[in-house]
Amino acid sequence: MPDLLGLVAYGSFFLAIIGINAIGCLGLNLQWGQTGLFNVGIAGFIAIGAYTSALLTTPATTDHIGGLHLPILIGWLGAMITSGLASFLVGAATLRLRSDYLAITTFGVAVTVHLVTLNAQSLTGGSFGIAFIPRPFETYASQPAVFGLANLALIVAVVVVLYVGLERLVRSPWGRVLRAIREEERAAASLGKSATRYRLQAFALGGAIMGLSGAIHASFIGFIAPDNYLSSVTFQIWTMLIVGGSGNNLGAILGAALIWTTWSATGFFTGMVFPPEQQARAAALQIVAIGLILSGTIVIRPRGLLGERTTVSRHLNG
Amino acid sequence: MKTTVLRVENLVAGYEPGLPILNGASIHVNAGEIATVLGPNGAGKSTLIKAIAGLVPKVSGQVCLGDRDITDVPAHRMIGNGLAFVPQTENVFATMTVDDNLRLAAGVMRSKSALVRVDELYGFFPDLARQRRLLAGRLSGGQRQMLAVARALIVSPTVLMLDEPSAGLSPKLVEIVFQKLLEIRATGISILLVEQNVRAALGIADRATIMVEGRNAHEGAAATLADDPIVASLYLGASKARLPATEARP
């Protein structure tokens, strides 16, 4: 039954992409939902992770440096370290300033990272990107359904581990301090330097998770190029979190599923309605749709579908 | 019978819904008088004057200026109705010159006569005239207070409301500022003065209202209230503190 197998392959691919987005979204939820830090450069941190992992895991090549052919897991770990470090540096430079400055700086990071991926040929392969990134379960690649399901299982496992870990973190004293800082700027000021330290930790960890999302995506697709990391990615992840419900890890995952489905559906729809030569143009309508969803949610239901669960009890506990 | 220029009845107001700070305050200001509102810290004096000015949301009650109901008039329209307000702190634009502070107030009236009024007020406050090019942020405490008062007078209001004009000033400066208030009253402008400095306020006021816990507790002619043992006990009882003296508070 090739049709069924094709469907399974497509379905698992679709769900795997949702999982990868959910990982990025969980990273953002730690930064924004829990800590109130506004990151407009998500695409940049994802790209740093993707490229790190690609350089670490690809076989030896003359196209770019790297090609260390290390195990995939080492690539993912490396991705978390570089993205986390980049986030740490950005945070260290801006977290003591007004929140807008973090937004502007992270935006600049994304622009600059994109520039590096495009122009630093020897490091990133330039606009051609990096190909032949080893994929998990590569030996099953000839059987798309099995390959897809195996990868999906791996990605789901990562999402579950992250979810459980982040939930525990949120409920830990560390997580409570984060929310206290977010809620009460003045209380945060009284904590002084240590407040900045907590925020910095959350920002770096969130960035590392975004990097992991990029690395997994690179390993899953096997090919990366600069145009995978445009600001529209940042925008999608933000919409996922806001719609799902910022401050809620389950909301982050739900939002990823909903927005990716909407994205694909609108893509399918414009694909049917517009002739092939108008496709590039019609794709812009997808962004308009997501933009309207984001703005509408912020205005009408700022808590998203699943708002933060702990809000009430936190106020009661004072 | 004196005409009442400002009447506040049963005003309930507060910053957050369900947490009123004013619990039905009623006061009034008669034409050509200085009325003062006194009371211990936290009695709601400052909230009262800000609520009248439209800066604190009102829950219920009524505020009338002359015959006009101004309860729901937004803050920026109060001045056009003849009600001027001098806040306690940050009451001048520090990054603008003295002259720009006054011209700003004059500009709101959109008439040439308002600019003439700027020159009149320089005559009334000669200190300010000498410093018209100076940034307001560089003025001394007393001069800032004078500038804030002058700016409120640009529009020739019916009622001038002041929130603790003595705060942070030395006794000598308090005397100068309050002397100015008497001169202003002499021009026919009625004044509502909220004060912590009881002795100084009773010294110039015609009538005083004592507020406790968001409502008016006692009222009378300023001259008699100054020596009234009931007032002293009310005051002491509510604040559990000695009657504030005229000394400047830190």
Binding site: A93, D100, L294, P302 | P74, H76, A105
Partner: protein, 302 residues
């Protein structure tokens, strides 16, 4: 090093500066970084293009290059009309989106909304006009030497002149008119401004009108010197923020000087390293300011 980069940098700085004034004004009066400001530049340029097309249809002579310039009076008139339209677009966006969020009091949510609006507005342009570039004129201009080693086209000279005029006009509005004083007052202390009788909503409207109109002027210049495409404004965003912060946020002269620094640094980088790295210059300047002097050259508060 060829001194030509100075002229190129000043022209670029002029375009950035007109946008940065809007960013700095919105920031100081509404207290948020507007990520949609770049879109006013793009929308302004396209609005001018369309209006100029309409004028050209009605009066064909309007399209002929006037004197030594590459475009005719049609573009000038269209630009003025589009400045009003772009200002109104900014007011509309505020009405529909920002004002509602401002009332809820979460300032950083407004930044996020502006980011979303920026994506949607840009994508809409891409849908309407495709991503292929447009031009006001296909005429090639000959740059004339002004001082030894520096050549400037007549268009560039006119644009520099217009920028100086517009920046002066903004300066005069802010220092000499009641509206300008009101804007400064709202920026310093909105509560006191209300007490004085200043209608803050009105001041906010004027701020958007002014910011939108200046962004449009910047877009027209960019369209004349480079090209018109949906991403033109988005690509200006980082230089706009860098200039506003470098100059000290809230300061109009600071925004202009910051923009000139960014523009000249970019031009120098293009000459020394290569055009492909130009976009990183604004980022490096931004980081340098944030590390060394976050209040900028003329700013007071952060």
């Amino acid at each position: 090093m060829n001194p030509q980069f100075i002229a190129d940098g000043l022209v670029a700085g002029a375009m950035i500066g007109l946008g940065a004034i809007g960013v700095t004004l919105t920031y100081s009066i509404l207290r948020f970084s507007n990520f949609a400001h770049g879109e006013f530049i793009s929308w302004g340029a396209y609005a001018t293009l369309l209006t100029a097309g309409l004028i050209g249809y009605l009066a064909p002579s309007s399209n002929e290059g006037y004197g030594p310039f590459s475009v005719g009076w049609g573009v000038l008139v269209a630009g003025l009309i589009a400045m009003v339209l772009t200002g109104l677009l900014a007011v509309l966006l505020d009405r529909l989106l920002f004002r509602r969020l401002r009332r809820k009091g979460a300032s950083i949510t407004v930044v996020m909304a502006s980011f979303g609006a920026s994506m949607a507005l840009r994508a809409l342009l891409e849908f309407l006009f495709t991503s292929s570039p447009r031009y006001f004129s296909r005429d090639l201009q000959i740059a004339v030497p002004v001082v030894p080693g520096i050549r400037v086209t007549p268009d560039q000279m006119a644009l520099l002149g217009m920028t100086v005029t517009l920046a002066l006009a903004v300066h005069l509005i802010l220092t000499q008119t009641h509206m300008g004083r009101s804007m400064r007052a709202v920026s310093e202390n909105p509560a006191l401004a209300r007490v004085l009788g200043i209608d803050i909503d009105h001041v906010i409207h004027i701020t958007w009108l002014l910011g939108g109109a200046l962004a449009c002027a910047s877009g027209v210049m960019l369209g004349l010197v480079v090209q018109i495409r949906p991403y033109m404004g988005f690509d200006m965003l980082l230089p706009l923020f860098a200039s506003a912060i470098l100059g000290g946020i809230g300061s109009v002269p600071g925004a202009i000087i910051g923009a000139l620094v960014v523009g000249v640094s970019e031009a120098a980088t293009v000459q020394l390293i290569g055009a492909e790295w130009r976009a990183a210059v604004a980022f490096l300047l931004l980081i340098a300011v944030l590390l060394i002097r976050p209040s900028g050259l003329f700013g007071k508060r952060v």
